[in-house]
Symmetry: C2
Amino acid sequence: MHGEMQTIDQLCVNTLRIMAADMAQRANSGHPGFPMGAAPMGYVLWQRHLLIDPSAPTWPDRDRFILSPGHGSPLQYSLMHIAGFEDVPIEALKAFRQWGSKTPGHPEFGLTAGVEATTGPLGQGAANAVGMAIAERMLAHRFNRPGHEIVDHHTYAIVSDGDMMEGVSAEAASLAGQLGLGKLICLYDANDVTLDGPTSLTFSVEDVGKRYEAYGWHVVFVADGNHDLEGLDRALSEARAETQRPSMIIVKTTIGYGSPNKQGSNASHGAPLGVEELALTKKNLGWDPSWHFHVPEAVRAHIGKGMQRGHEARVAWENRFRAYEKAYPELAEQWKLAWEGALPDDWDVDLPSFSPGEDQPTRNASGKALNAIASRVPWLVGGDADIGSSTQSQIKQGGSFDGVTGAGRNIHFGVREHAMTAIANGMAYHGAVRPLVSTFFTFVDYMRPSIRIAALAHLPILMVFSHDSLAVGEDGPTHQPVEQLASLRLMPNVIVLRPADPNETTEAWRWCMQYSDGPVALVTTRQKVPVIDRAKYAPACGLHRGAYILTDANAPADVVVIATGSEVSLALQAHEQLASEGIAVRVVSMPSWEIFQSQPSSYIEQVLPSDIPRVAVEAGVSFGWERWVKHRRALVTVDQYGSSAPGHVAMEKYGFHVHRVVAAIRQVIAEKKS
Amino acid sequence: MHGEMQTIDQLCVNTLRIMAADMAQRANSGHPGFPMGAAPMGYVLWQRHLLIDPSAPTWPDRDRFILSPGHGSPLQYSLMHIAGFEDVPIEALKAFRQWGSKTPGHPEFGLTAGVEATTGPLGQGAANAVGMAIAERMLAHRFNRPGHEIVDHHTYAIVSDGDMMEGVSAEAASLAGQLGLGKLICLYDANDVTLDGPTSLTFSVEDVGKRYEAYGWHVVFVADGNHDLEGLDRALSEARAETQRPSMIIVKTTIGYGSPNKQGSNASHGAPLGVEELALTKKNLGWDPSWHFHVPEAVRAHIGKGMQRGHEARVAWENRFRAYEKAYPELAEQWKLAWEGALPDDWDVDLPSFSPGEDQPTRNASGKALNAIASRVPWLVGGDADIGSSTQSQIKQGGSFDGVTGAGRNIHFGVREHAMTAIANGMAYHGAVRPLVSTFFTFVDYMRPSIRIAALAHLPILMVFSHDSLAVGEDGPTHQPVEQLASLRLMPNVIVLRPADPNETTEAWRWCMQYSDGPVALVTTRQKVPVIDRAKYAPACGLHRGAYILTDANAPADVVVIATGSEVSLALQAHEQLASEGIAVRVVSMPSWEIFQSQPSSYIEQVLPSDIPRVAVEAGVSFGWERWVKHRRALVTVDQYGSSAPGHVAMEKYGFHVHRVVAAIRQVIAEKKS
């Protein structure tokens, strides 16, 4: 069968297959097998169902598309190229996986207009899609009015065997079933091959369809995903017709389809086919082996028709939106604010301030600040991993999110920390909502793979972590964070805020709401902390510079004590105690290393003069603190896991008491003199 | 119904219920609800099925028991106390959650003899159980001989709603189904309540039984887990009769059963009942409210009978083992070595050494070292998350693990990194096997919650991570680790090894095999690195001190360059280049911070003299490096995520080239002079 004798459908599919093989060959790197097998589903979805407009890649009501197995990126890039996305000219396909190209090995959100999510680490894309579908429902509920449906789109994800094995996709799928996200449609490329070999090694007993039915999904099968384009089309139509349950379309395909000697085997998974096999593949698929990066004009025209459908949908939407603006001008204004993430003028007028004596856990202060903001910032939405009542992260008047109607601003994620984070990423990708997620600080470890993607993709997810130290107490070492502060601080593009008292907590919220370049972790205490007397000490707005002088001695300081969070009050106690002895102790509250590091060097020198010795106090590991404090003896930290005991006992036993702080101060002063 | 009128079964169950409530009340902290609901299943399992012997808590062929919802620890402690475990006298129950007690908030392996696993962070216990069941099969295959079944025990786990929501349990369950682990039996306490409220918020659509059937499990239901002790007994018998599939017994219970005003509600989940409600509960369950920490003698006697069954099983096993020792003295010797984790005399004779010119990725050298060891150390077993062929972590002659027969030394975990780690922990808890797990370094983030438990519980799991830096190249930032080295180094009790070349890789393996106090991460390159000429430079055995002088100048050093892994050869290039200019550069290879830090201070001073300025070179974040190098200008590191490009291009673009190292050296020398 030669190219010109193929049906237009076949021609389109084979163009995608061969383009993927050409790209990997040119790059001498990549994964041709997946796109060659998944080309039919990609083609049918894009040409017949997906409503997107390459000339307006961020049109708000477009359908969303995620390729969860990001290693299959040639499929997405080829579709984008043929569809006419400006960021993906043929040169970009030829520069696949090269420095500076817009076609990196795995799709990257923000780099290539039209790529909706950064994928690659498996499982997360499937969970991102759940987040997009949630955002769609939330916005539909908030903005749609009878006769004015300005939010009404689907989320489509292609997922792979590897995605189906990852726990994060399982967590997300269970929640999607719980919520009844009817406009979420996944196409599962079941090719039975992974990097190391056939899935019979790892994944052949499980009945994935039955599992998704158990989650409450609508499951459809396509037995021959290599050829049965009408079957794919029917399955997608059925999925769209199902509005009360998410749909999983299980499609049996052959990895590397078309490669005579490598199809159906892991030989086609993780490496180019090789020049000879590529030529044989081209012949086999009716291609001239001398054609490289070839897109027949008929293919462009045909896929273009699918895009025209999307274009028309966008134009129709814009007309609908104009009518909406007239009918509901205030809502239309809110719509714009939501998409910009813009704060209303009065957003912070209800923010609480706390007077000395109103001692309380910073988690409580955080809950009050959150609720003061949430009542005026409707695009802020909450969620937690089953412990919102404990982390104080629930929006009190918000109600529980309902996946069918879209009502409710608190998402009950269940005990599913990783999916919670990946879903929040999906909501952030979608836009017009800002997601808050919450759990105990020690469980941040479960979330880490998705925090990394949020940091990479500059997603402004808000993470509220309570129970932030050994002071958690009786729950013991599994629940007492010690290394988590450092573990987040060292991630590029993650901001960590650990406020010292209720007023710094308010300021932390104020800061968070004005920042949108990446994930932020707000870390709060379980235990009561004193409200620092701001008449006596510096105001809490110092938080906005990351670190600030909370109090100084009358004389030039003999020593600077840097502290964070609940340990700031220990530093103040030491300051008071030593003042009576004539030792001048400056206390610096340092709620955020990252913000402080971004200040001008003059400010940094002002707060931490180079020639004054320093002591640091934090109920966490010392790792990293040498950035601020030269001598390990000057670190009042804890380099081991904790123990089950009442919180104040645990803190005391591990050395977080004023005597140790005073001793460390005396030590550095003695060394300075000697 | 008063105490003395209850059947002995009822009396036992109510003793456990009330003890849990008493413990939480005394501690003024804890989770009484779970143990009150799960007491019947705990009782029936321990009294009628579980084969353990409190007088020999570590008898090798005992059944294993895991309480995955560790917050339900009062149930386990109460059972252990009544059963007669020495570590849990009544005083220990009264000291629940107190400093220094053996009854911490969540069970801790190693602290309390008889506790088989550290649990608390949900989901992991369920996966640990899979690991224990795998270890049982492996040992059965290796050691059992016809008529000599010295390995034949069950693994029982109690799991909760929260465990069922966590992705790690889903990954592990899928693998357990794949492997057909017939001797794994889980009891799922389906009480429909979590910390925040009813599971209708988060977990009511999913049909858990159907999901486990989809995984290939044998599923049994007990509709009334509060009262139907015979039903629980029958279900356990059915589960034990099923030998080809793991069993999930789904038990409907009432959280806080017996508490008149709090049962069935989250009010009983996370806090003591309160004095009044506790008194009402006691009355309701036929107890005298004035009884505190009361165990009726009949209860001790009856549960003691169950323990007697276990004791007799142990005595029978010891007789069997004596016969085995006679029939198979060599195997019996191997058995002992395996339980001790002892190395045979000749264990390292095949370890490879590499000559200059045999340049290769350290992942390849690692694979060779592993295989050289594995052929002589039969208790070392391998496994990987679908990329063993790429990480070079497969035992070549080992075969694929078969969960029914127990044959095979390579576990194909599938794309399930978290479960892989939690399962490895389970294998390590079990004993007599040492598990190796492997994936790309960037995916260590998926594993982190279980690495933390391995560190806490001192489990000697071996983690082999390849693809260790930006040099991964084309796969792009999602696959290029930058912060992972630091993120592991900062975890207490985790050892990180990043060898510089093939010979250091051999030494790293030698070191790992002689260490057993916690998890070790061996981090290797994807790309080729030169074999360092050890005739010219110091021998690779320097690795055993964590850091060592690889080469010195003839003159006293002007500067010390510290490097790790693939960047050591950059440091050597800088050394050579500057030597020709008369600048004396000492190069220190520092494969392991943790090992180096444990050396005497005299050695540390010898390697890194205080008065010589230092430069550090590592293709990772700077965070933490200030421990060794004072000035940020002297850090040749990378504080951002990478980019998709060929590996050598990515390294070059982010500054890992000899010119930058030389420039940093010149800078610190200039500053020293000025």
